[in-house]
């Protein structure tokens, strides 16, 4: 249990992706079955343990200590799980000869009935060290919140076993904790687990951005063009009556889109974009947002913002794997197949006809719908390949929006950047003339060169007004301030931000040392974009 607890403690404080991968790989290497598999399941959210409510946890602890002292402690720490793990009074007679393993803890928790759950939990806490207690409480209260996605965990498995992550993703949904067969294969001690379950995920094909000079080397006749829809990439798989909707990283998202999942009556694997509205009246990104990150979806929500799928590829029909066929043939099969589906839930991503690159460029600049974020180019003769092969698929995005904003706060970075102020909050002007004030509209931490980072860091240090821990507030008024040209992909309405807007994918595109702060943009400029 202690090794798992230590892993959680390290992961939550390690900001860098590579650092997290190293920690995970080391853990998989040094910990035996079934503990490592259970840890993996806990991280990917595939471990089912009956939840304990915070109130129950609190009741358990105040049975064991003075409520006033507990109150002081909780007030200071602010996090219930952490407070309880620290103050839990371990009676010296209860300290066991050895601490329980993760496997033993999980087995006891899973075997506990609803009524004796709290007692089982209390006994486990009695037998564990402080950080192990924290890990146990995290397991039973649900949600580790350690900043590791299922995708990252799979990446670590791939590096651990020196296999392609696509192989793991493809197998994943047929496996169950503690994944002993998977680990045995990754360690070279057993054959690759067979795909046994139905409707498994197929690793998706991804595109590369068009870079400078790329187009000159490509022949327009070799490529099909489609609009690039700014929805959610999904894979709809139906096999033997099993229906699954996967995200591009292989997470099962069927539960979040029951309306679409229920309409999947076919035997095939389709690739496409999930959008909101109806095929004939596609909704905007704000509409789509209503359906994102929700655990449960009300019938009203499903009615108001129905989900549908705009299909652009087909990987399998009736058990026939089509991935080795060239796109030209897959497209014909897809067109015929989508014609047989419920037209309110499935339609075809139309091809965009073009003569040459300049013609396509004109179309790209004036897309027919706001949810289009550019065009896709796909080679007619390419098979469907997992991952991001260079050449067959390109994305050619619309140029980003830009805004001139003023630097307001800077925060120190991590790792290589721990001595640099590298995360910037910026704002634009709002309020009546003569009484303008800056309102923060976003935060960005990349887009600049190392040399520019040094310059901004110096500027921040020289112009600090106030400090709050790792954050500095920077002098920013009508006459003083650093203007940043910020590029972003789009704007959403936000009730969480004072400005009422939230930027998508903001990054610093230029430093405007030359521009006076008073000439930075106003909030109305952004609001106009919102209403467009």
């Amino acid at each position: 249990m202690n090794r798992f607890a230590e892993l959680l403690d390290r992961l939550v404080l390690t900001p860098s992706r590579n650092g997290k991968l190293t920690l995970l790989i080391d853990y998989f290497r040094s910990v035996e079955d079934p503990d490592r598999g259970l840890a993996l399941a806990a991280i990917t959210g595939d471990l089912s343990i009956a939840a304990v409510k915070p109130a129950m946890l609190r009741a358990l602890v105040v049975e064991r200590m003075d409520p006033v002292l507990f109150g002081y402690s909780y007030d200071y720490v602010g996090d219930l799980a952490e407070t309880v793990s620290l103050v839990w009074p371990q009676s010296p007679d209860h300290i066991p000869n050895r601490e329980p393993t993760l496997g033993e803890v999980v087995a006891k928790l899973q075997a506990a009935s609803r009524s004796d759950g709290p007692k089982v939990l209390a006994r486990l806490l009695d037998s564990a060290s402080i950080s192990a207690r924290f890990a146990i409480i995290k397991l039973v209260t649900g949600g580790l919140r350690i900043g590791v996605s299922a995708r990252l965990a799979k990446q670590a498995l791939a590096e651990f076993g020196k296999v392609d992550v696509a192989e793991i993703e493809e197998l994943w949904h047929g496996l169950t904790p503690p994944y002993a067969g998977l680990f045995a294969w990754l360690e070279g001690k057993a054959e690759k687990p067979q795909r046994t379950a139905s409707a498994l995920f197929r690793p998706v094909m991804l595109s590369n951005p068009i870079g400078d000079g790329d187009l000159e080397k490509l022949d327009p006749a070799d490529y099909a063009a489609e609009w690039k829809w700014d929805g959610i990439r999904v894979q709809a798989v139906c096999e033997d009556g099993v229906r699954r909707l996967y995200s591009r990283t292989g997470d099962d998202v069927s539960g979040a889109f029951p309306d679409l999942a229920d309409a999947m009556h076919f035997s095939a694997a389709l690739d496409g974009e999930l959008l909101v509205g109806e095929p004939s009246a596609t909704g905007t990104f704000s509409d789509l947002q209503q359906r994102l990150n929700r655990k449960t979806v009300t019938p009203k929500m499903q009615q108001q913002y129905p989900a549908f799928m705009r299909c652009y590829d087909v990987l399998q029909i009736d058990g026939e794997d089509l991935r080795t066929l060239p796109l030209r043939e897959r497209r014909l099969r897809l067109e015929a197949f989508v014609g047989t589906l419920d037209p309110s839930r499935f339609d075809l991503s139309p091809l965009v006809a073009f003569e040459d690159w300049p013609a396509l460029e004109r179309l790209r600049q004036a897309p027919p719908h706001p949810i289009i974020e550019g065009v896709m180019l796909k080679r007619w003769d390419s098979p469907y390949l997992a991952g991001r092969p260079k050449g067959p698929w390109f994305k050619w995005k619309r140029d980003p929006h830009t805004v001139d904003a003023v630097l307001m706060y800077a925060q120190r970075g991590h790792g290589k950047r721990s001595s640099f102020y590298s995360d910037y909050t910026f704002g634009v002007w709002s309020g009546p003339e003569g009484a303008e004030e800056l309102v923060p509209v976003g935060k960005a931490y990349f887009g600049f060169t190392d040399e520019e980072l040094k310059q901004i860091d110096k500027y921040v240090r020289d112009n600090t007004v106030e400090r709050f821990g790792p954050v500095r507030s920077v002098r920013a008024d009508r006459t003083n301030g650093l203007v940043l040209e910020v590029a972003f992909e789009g704007l959403n309405r936000s009730t969480r931000h004072k400005s009422g807007v939230a930027m998508r994918f903001p990054r610093i595109s230029r430093l405007r040392w030359d521009k006076p702060a008073a000439e930075a943009d106003r909030i109305e400029t952004l609001q106009a974009l919102l209403d467009a």
Binding site: L13, T14, D26, D66, S73, T83, L86, G415, G469, P470
Partner: protein, 336 residues
């Protein structure tokens, strides 16, 4: 005689009227008794200072010769008479030279703990419990949430991380007096025999520790002259915590920031400070040590100073021991 007639707080610090002296005064006074060398307890500008030899040495290193008009050495365990008040220094286990001060008159004994800890520490004399009527305890970590793990376990985590990330350097933030040397000594005791790189602010105090027979092994300055960026790959570097937010830290390759402090027990503290590897190593007593020590002294009355007084006072009430906060000002909360 009442306890408050023997010692009571004044704006300058804890004062003994019959002996006419202050303990750890925060402003310049005529006569000061100093428990240990941390700058919030040992200030310059007093006329006369009484402290252990090591505390006097440390004050001289920090403030220069002539930091006081006259100095007098207190030998541990030897009782001295000051204007009819008996004064004895006992080891406090906090940092090198640290002492508790027992003040006694007409059968009434008060012990001022200064800062103390009970965990074993190879860089200073261990704490010695002294029976007394009134025990004045610090309460820096006076909440039940503060439970320091064994320091060897924390150092093992540091060494494990150094092995996991051999291409990066580990920057260990540790206070220049006491904590830094303890961390280095713990590394040596764990078998780490490579040079330890230190920030310039640690040099003189570390040399002093070595001169007092505390072996810290080879310490090299963490300057760019001593090597290029790559030479610090895999290195352990010790420096004051403030240096790591500074441009000084840029000479190290992709550093992992570590901080050796009792505050690192609280995850949010580590997170806010951008600490990737918190090391819970403290020179102060944790909750269990505080409460055990209070009982061990057999004191009928507890005065609680700097820190989280309310929780310890509450605990004393539950135990049927009279207790009150002393509200001394000027001691830093963060000094660990």
């Amino acid at each position: 005689m009442r306890a408050s007639d023997l010692l009571h707080p004044r704006p300058e610090g804890l004062y003994c009227p019959p002996g006419d002296f202050f303990i750890d005064p925060v402003r310049p006074v005529n006569r000061a008794l100093i428990t240990h060398g941390h700058s919030d307890h040992a200030r310059s500008g007093h006329r006369s200072v009484l402290a252990t030899q090591q505390t006097l040495d440390i004050m001289e290193l920090r403030y220069g010769e002539g930091f006081a008009e006259t100095v007098q050495t207190a030998a541990l365990g030897k009782t001295m008479a000051l204007n009819g008040v008996s004064v004895t220094f006992h080891p406090a286990g906090h940092v090198l030279g640290s002492a508790q001060i027992a003040v006694e008159r007409q059968g009434l004994r008060i012990v001022a703990s200064g800062d103390y800890k009970r965990q074993k520490d190879a860089t200073c004399e261990p704490f010695e419990p002294v029976r007394c009527d009134v025990f004045i305890t610090e309460a820096t970590f006076g909440l039940p949430v503060f439970r320091h793990p064994p320091d060897t376990q924390e150092i093992a985590r540091l060494l494990k991380s150094a092995a996991q990330f051999p291409e990066r350097s580990h920057l260990v933030g540790a206070y220049a007096l006491g904590k830094a040397q303890r961390v280095m000594r713990l590394l040596r005791d764990a078998g780490y025999d490579r040079p330890i790189y230190i920030h310039g602010a640690l040099t003189r105090l570390s040399e002093y520790y070595q001169s007092q027979g505390i072996d810290l092994g080879q310490l090299d300055p963490a300057t760019v002259d001593s090597g290029g960026k790559d030479d610090f790959a895999g290195a352990i570097v010790v420096g004051p915590p403030s240096a790591f937010a500074d441009r000084w830290a840029r000479r190290f390759p992709d550093p992992i920031s570590c901080f050796a402090s009792g505050w690192m027990r609280i995850r949010q503290r580590a997170k806010q400070g951008g600490v990737e590897l918190p090391l819970i190593i403290s020179d102060h007593a944790d909750w269990d040590e505080l409460t055990a020590t209070v009982k061990e002294t057999g004191a009928e009355e507890i005065w609680v100073t700097h820190g989280r007084e309310e929780a310890l006072v509450r605990w004393c009430e539950l135990e049927g021991i009279a207790a009150r906060p002393l509200h001394l000002v000027g001691y830093e909360d963060e000094g660990d």
